[in-house]
């Protein structure tokens, strides 16, 4: 994670025919520094949402005898949940809890009294930053581990050397996602042909990352 916002802004500036100065200013007046940073942040989150390259884990104590498990205090912001693990003995044994739906829980689990090991988790009936366990767990020593996609678009308004939290070699794709947005800006900066090409490069990155994580090397075409 060594590619910084200043490096990316510098490269964007050269593509936009601006004077490269690590994103300190855009002399043409067509763009603002904060705007370009915002496009980088947006596309970094979008890239991670689709490609799932950067994950984090958060572990918190489960609320016993309650389906509703609130994790807002340990994960204030996230893009998506990848997996949920559960332990009833304080980390001695972890179980992968499959995702399901409330409908599935109601149909399949006729007795929904609290149990040692919940059968599934659901989001469809859960408030933001909470999940529901079906059935509720009983143990007071239970922990929940959530593997999730964090918000990685956290670059500051002004570039200061902050590194983008995705593998370095995938950062060009995020840059092209941002450039694609900038080329679509209405007005003098509008350039749909270049925007399309940048968008395709972004898509190439998403597909490439997905191919690695799905255990298939990139396909010959």
């Amino acid at each position: 994670m060594a590619v910084t916002d200043q490096t990316l802004q510098n490269e964007i500036q050269t593509q936009l025919l601006e004077v490269p100065n690590n994103g300190a200013s855009y002399g043409s007046g067509l763009y603002t520094v904060a705007e370009v940073q915002a496009r980088l942040n947006y596309n970094a989150d979008l890239f991670n949402k689709f490609a799932n390259v950067t994950t984090q884990v958060a572990i918190f104590a489960a609320t016993p005898n309650s389906k509703v498990q609130d994790f807002s205090s340990v994960i204030p912001a996230m893009t998506d949940i990848i997996a949920v693990f559960y332990t009833s003995n304080n980390g001695g044994t972890w179980y992968n809890i499959p995702e399901g739906s409330s409908f599935e829980g109601d149909i399949f689990i006729t007795d929904q009294s609290s149990v040692t090991l919940p059968s599934l988790y659901t989001l469809d009936s859960a408030a933001p930053l909470t999940l529901n366990l079906f059935p509720a767990p009983t143990a007071t020593t239970s922990l929940i581990a959530i593997i999730y996609l964090p918000n990685i678009g956290t670059l500051p308004t002004a570039p200061n050397g902050t590194a983008l939290a995705i593998p370095d070699d995938f950062t060009p794709y995020v840059k092209y996602g941002a450039l694609g947005d900038l080329f679509r800006k209405a007005g003098e900066a509008y350039d749909p042909a270049r925007a399309d090409i940048c968008e395709q490069l972004f898509q190439l990155g998403v597909e490439t990352a997905k191919s690695w994580l799905s255990s298939e090397p990139p396909q010959a075409s």
Binding site: F50, F85, T93, P172, F202
Partner: protein, 261 residues
């Protein structure tokens, strides 16, 4: 393939500059195009392979093993071995296939699908089968047998070990070429593809007809990466014959089915 040669930044700069008007692209720009081309090449081909040993690492009670523990520059892990054996790489959705599972109990069992209709009460009862554990409590010190990626920056081992060391075969991030004598080992056929990509990206700055006329260079670059990968795909045949990775279970995981944009 021709023999591998050591290609310096200076050589690559010269090759790219030969195709471009010097007054419109600076040397610094061309260097950034070259480093970007090498990064993209690495994401397409996994070119930067290396091995790294990692020391005893306590995972428990945490389920996640950061790949940065192996090496700070790790992009993707290809293989993990212990002293005289290796760990099987599985897919995320396969962890529930490692033990007797609810899914295995249900699928193809006429008790649960009489006359192709679901028997809800029977399935509800079967739902009470325990979900397989990642770390049997009686054996937290077990040597792990399997691993899988969760994102590119994290791994999960099965069973969860309480500490172990091993050797990993990884793809690292591409080190940027900075000085003129910094080098990368590329064959001539790959150098041409790298130069093609640099030329294409340089023309992105121009736009218009100039850009449209060099789209074929991007195609050349991608096709060369595909040819490079064709060698990897050949070995993938043996993986399929051996039945590895295992078949996906009924409930595919989010990680393996990201949405399209």
């Amino acid at each position: 393939m021709s023999g591998y040669t050591v290609t310096t930044l200076s050589i690559l700069q010269t090759r790219v500059q030969e195709r471009l008007l010097p007054s419109f692209w600076t040397s610094a720009e061309i260097t950034s195009y070259i480093n970007e081309a090498l990064r993209i090449w690495n994401t397409l081909t996994g070119f930067q392979k290396t091995t790294a040993s990692f020391g005893a690492y306590t995972v428990s009670p945490y389920v996640i093993f950061p790949t940065s523990t192996i090496s700070p520059n790790t992009m993707f892990v290809l293989r993990i071995e212990l002293t005289n054996t290796h760990l099987g790489q599985i897919r995320f959705s396969e962890i529930n296939n490692l033990d007797q599972t609810w899914f295995k109990t249900i699928v193809g069992n006429p008790v649960y699908f009489p006359n192709n209709r679901r028997n809800f009460p029977a399935m509800a009862a079967a739902r009470n089968f325990p979900i397989p554990s990642l770390s049997p409590s009686s054996s937290t010190s077990d040597v792990p047998t399997s691993w899988f990626h969760v994102g590119m920056n994290n791994l999960i081992f099965y069973p969860i070990p309480d500490g172990f060391s091993g050797k990993a075969y990884v793809i690292e991030a591409t080190p940027p070429l900075i000085n003129s004598d910094d080098f990368v080992q590329l064959g001539e056929e790959d150098i041409s593809a790298i130069v093609d990509y640099c030329t294409f990206i340089a023309h992105l700055k121009e736009g218009g007809v100039e850009l449209q006329s060099v789209l074929v260079l991007l195609k050349n670059f991608l096709e060369q990466a595909a040819r490079y990968n064709a060698k990897i795909l050949k070995s993938a045949l043996y993986t399929r014959i051996l039945g590895l990775p295992y078949q996906e279970q009924e409930r595919p995981q989010q990680l393996e089915q990201p949405e399209a944009r």
